[in-house]
Amino acid sequence: MPSNLNAFDIISFSPGFDLSGLFEENDRKKEVRFTSRQPASTIISKLRDIAKRLKLKIDKKDGGLLKMEGLKEGRKGVLSIDAEIFEVTPNFHLVEVKKSSGDTLEFQKIMKQDMRPALKDIVWTWQGEQQQQEQQDLQPSHVPQLQVVSPPQDS
């Protein structure tokens, strides 16, 4: 099942801690993160559906990691994408989708054109964006918000 994220795991996502930047140019757009209020099983089956539709070979590893691999060679070899699900609380998950091999531009194109639209109904927020839509199970206004969120929009 998905690995449990504690505060230190979350903090370790910071590029400020990633000293590999001293040795190489960092092309940060090799990964995308989103949050979801769906249970892990729903997220996994959604990712599997998408992978099937995109004709990617799926390999489920332990600990909430899903490896997806393209079937034909692109500009820089076969594109491989890892999707890793982290449990923050039982009703709140962080998902990291990153390129593990292949062409970064191809990865970004697949994310933008295929994955993002397909993931829409399980995503609560995308990294870099305010909350886009209210989910049905979101608790009412007694929950204090960290950032100002826009009112619910029609999808």
Binding site: L22, F23, T35, V88, L146
Partner: protein
């Protein structure tokens, strides 16, 4: 390799304060003499990127990590602070090599654990306190631009403190941290840079390109 050695012998550079001889640094870290020399090539590149004075300034550190010399970042600040052992506002060559050595795959785990603790102990109190932990989580979420409600942040912090705080005083001390890491080794995964095993090849490759370029230019009479 020989061309690189030749380059080092040709002229006697004026050494800046904080420079330590590679042979000394190699004897006190997991690096070999050649690797320390390679790190010197990297250090020279980093330390001349904004202010060419032989020291790594905060802006140069930020430029290297974020490609933006003005990018403010809590965690980079913490790392810089720990690398700047003498607290004179810059990272000198000796400090650079010694601090980086903790990140070497062969460095003692106890050193990595201690370094990580000092990184997270924002106010140097000897404890990682609840509010420090919350501050770091909030800083990270803001940094990666992820919206999360306060109740979720609180529950993450609570859960983490509970996991680590065996003495029940609401804070994490060094002993509790060591035990926590023993249970969850991934807590210090950022403390190892596999790059450091290949720094020689990495930096050497750049140097060979530079030397090659120099010789090629000489051949064509382009170096006057």
């Amino acid at each position: 390799m020989f061309a690189l050695m030749g380059c080092f012998c040709l002229k006697k550079p004026i050494r800046k304060p904080g420079y330590e001889e590679p042979i000394i640094l190699a004897s006190e870290t997991p690096f070999t003499v050649n690797e320390v020399e390679a790190l010197y090539v990297l250090f020279k590149k980093l330390s001349s990127s904004v202010i060419d004075d032989g020291f790594i300034h905060k802006e140069e550190f930020q430029l290297a990590l974020f490609e933006d010399s003005n990018k403010q970042n809590l965690f980079a600040d913490r790392v810089f602070d720990l690398f700047d052992v003498k607290h004179n506002g810059v990272i000198e060559f000796g400090e650079f090599v010694r601090s980086l050595s903790v990140f070497h795959p062969n460095a003692p785990e106890a050193d990595k654990i201690a370094f990580a603790f000092r990184l997270y102990d924002l106010r140097h109190t000897g404890y990682i306190e609840r509010d420090e932990l919350k501050e770091m989580v909030l800083a990270l979420l803001s940094e990666i631009d992820l919206t999360v409600t306060d109740d979720v942040v609180e529950s993450i912090v609570d859960k983490t403190i509970m996991e680590a705080d065996s003495k029940g005083d609401g804070m994490i001390d060094q002993e509790e941290w060591r035990e926590f890491v023993a249970r969850k080794p991934s807590l210090i995964k950022n403390m190892t840079l596999p790059y450091l095993k290949w720094v020689l090849i990495f930096v050497l490759a750049i140097s060979i390109c530079l030397v090659h370029n120099f010789h090629a230019r000489s051949f064509y009479g382009l170096n006057s």
